[in-house]
């Protein structure tokens, strides 16, 4: 049991550790920025338009640029005079990382790094691939560093910079959610639920079906103010060879792979099915359990559980405000659990089409 109260005197070692956690993140950021600028002339710039904001990503290295920019092909715009956010991206191959100014106590469960709130910096470090993300909100500058540009994991290629985007977008009226998004005629639904529930099966079943639009398989951005809209920030999907054959899709030779699945990007494979945005008409939680009724309406509490929890557990620094924002979305939109029997996603899609057309018919 934890007890609150006066803090006992720390021993000198503990005090030193605490000092190191809170003081130098700003200096570290500036130092890294300075070293990054020395990388010129090997810099590739990409300008993106993401949820109404202009984001300039400056890649320090062409290999790196090729690996991480594929996911954003649909967001690329011509260079602008000014960016709302500039991301300086580099790898350990070009720029060795100075010692991080964080002790072990600063490392959180969701990769977050504890920073002094007064620094205006949010940070995360993903162990394994060793990816450092730092966003300085005041300076409108972010740093993205990965140990080895030659071994960027497939999940990172499918959804790069997502910690930075999450922190940035939540201050500008959007939230990055862990959900798939599909639609018809610019009206969409979010498919929520944990892994194995069938959301990806259903989302990828829309590929090569011209009446459907696809905005993402894993992460997409939802506007915080109603009417809620969803934007395809990461329109990629993981497919096995069998499922890609069923959908008449060619897997490009150099597609990144995650286990037995290949990652396909909608802008390459199904460019005509990619919407700018979809107006959300509801949340859908697929279930593999057979049910006599196709769709059962859920309460806002149930909808919040499915939408919020998996999102919050994956995003560093997500907390009370994000839970409130996600709850507001779940309270505003109707939500249904739908039955998607194994091996028959097309049947469920057909009925989802009806739901999209007349959601009021499925509300009690």
């Amino acid at each position: 049991m934890k007890q609150d109260g006066p803090t006992p005197d720390r021993n000198p070692t503990q005090k030193r550790m605490t000092d190191r956690v809170h003081l130098p993140e700003k200096r570290f950021f500036r130092e890294l920025e300075k070293r990054w600028k020395r990388l010129t002339p090997d810099i590739c710039d990409v300008w993106l338009f993401v949820c109404g904001r202009v984001i300039r990503i400056r890649f320090g290295g062409s290999v790196f640029f090729t690996l991480l920019s594929t996911a954003f092909a649909h967001l690329i715009i011509k260079p602008e005079k000014q960016a709302d956010l500039t991301i300086l991206a580099c790898s350990g191959n070009k720029l060795p990382l100075p010692e991080l100014p964080f002790s072990t106590s600063a490392f959180g469960q969701r990769c977050e790094l504890t920073t002094d709130p007064e620094s205006g910096i949010e940070a995360s470090f993903m162990m394994g691939p060793d990816i450092l993300s730092m966003l300085d909100h005041e300076q409108k500058t972010a740093i993205y560093w990965i140990r080895d540009a030659g071994t960027v994991p497939a999940f990172e290629q499918a959804a790069p910079f997502r910690h930075l985007f999450h922190w940035y977008l939540r201050r500008h009226g959007w939230i990055l959610v862990h959900a798939a998004a599909i639609g018809q005629q610019n009206r969409g639904i979010l498919l929520c639920g944990k892994g194995g529930s069938g959301k990806s099966t259903l989302a990828t079943a829309t590929w090569n079906r011209k009446e459907w639009q696809f905005a993402g398989d894993d992460y997409c951005a939802v506007s915080l103010k109603p009417p809620h809209i969803v934007a395809p920030v990461y329109p990629s999907a993981k497919l096995t060879i069998e499922s890609s054959r069923m959908l008449n899709l060619d897997i490009p030779e150099h597609s990144p792979t995650d286990g037995e699945k290949s990652i396909l990007f909608a802008p390459d494979s199904i460019p005509n099915q990619l919407p700018n945005t979809l107006k959300l008409v509801g949340l859908v939680i697929p279930s593999r359990r057979h049910s006599p009724a196709f769709a059962t309406q859920l309460t806002p509490v149930e909808a919040t559980r499915h939408l919020a929890i998996s999102t919050l557990y994956q995003m560093p620094h997500a907390g009370e405000k994000d839970l409130q924002d996600l709850t507001r979305i779940a309270r505003t939109l109707p939500a249904w659990r739908i039955s998607v029997p194994q091996g028959r996603p097309q049947d469920a899609l057909k009925r989802l089409g009806h739901l999209l057309e007349k959601p009021e018919n499925y509300c009690t």
């Binding site: 609150d4 550790m17 964080f102 002790s103 470090f125 993903m126 919040t304 907390g319 009370e320």
Partner: protein, 151 residues
């Protein structure tokens, strides 16, 4: 337990209240929880930094039940919330709390004060990175012997 004072274990814990239910998320354990209508009254009191007496008074206005019975359920629930690290003891002075009643009292449901616990999303929380680094922080890796000792 009559003099206890507690507060929500923020920022490790976030919660959202609905009409008759509260969803509570513990970001460190990866568990999430649901409280029923009785628990919702208790949570509202904890949010307001109220003491036991104020919370109990509110409960007996919301539910038709004897004070002793409500008190037993309340104390049991507080014990569970503490055990799950959702609230922590505090030495703060409790704030006065006089919530407005929005409905007539209802019968106390059977199993009132139930805290439902869910752990099905735990795997989404990434592995604790601490075991891979030593006190100096990344990139100083923990010596192999230390790592093994932690296994």
């Amino acid at each position: 337990m009559s003099e206890y004072k507690y507060r929500i274990n923020r920022p490790a814990v976030s919660a959202e209240s609905f009409d008759n239910e509260v969803i509570i998320i513990h970001f460190e354990s990866g568990n999430y929880y649901s409280l029923d209508a009785f628990g919702t009254c208790v949570w509202e009191g904890l949010e307001a930094k109220a003491n036991r007496e104020s919370i109990l008074r509110h409960i007996t206005k919301q539910f038709r039940t004897k004070k002793e019975k409500a008190g037993r359920i309340l104390d049991k629930l507080i014990g569970q919330l503490l055990a799950e690290d959702l609230i922590i003891e505090t030495r703060d002075t409790p704030d006065p709390w006089e919530p407005t009643l929005i409905s007539e009292p209802i019968e106390l449901p059977e199993n009132a004060g139930t805290l439902l616990k869910f752990d099905d999303m735990k795997d989404l929380l990434l592995l604790d990175p601490i075991h891979d680094v030593d006190e100096a922080g990344w990139p100083h890796t923990r010596p192999e012997s230390d790592t093994k000792a932690n296994d």
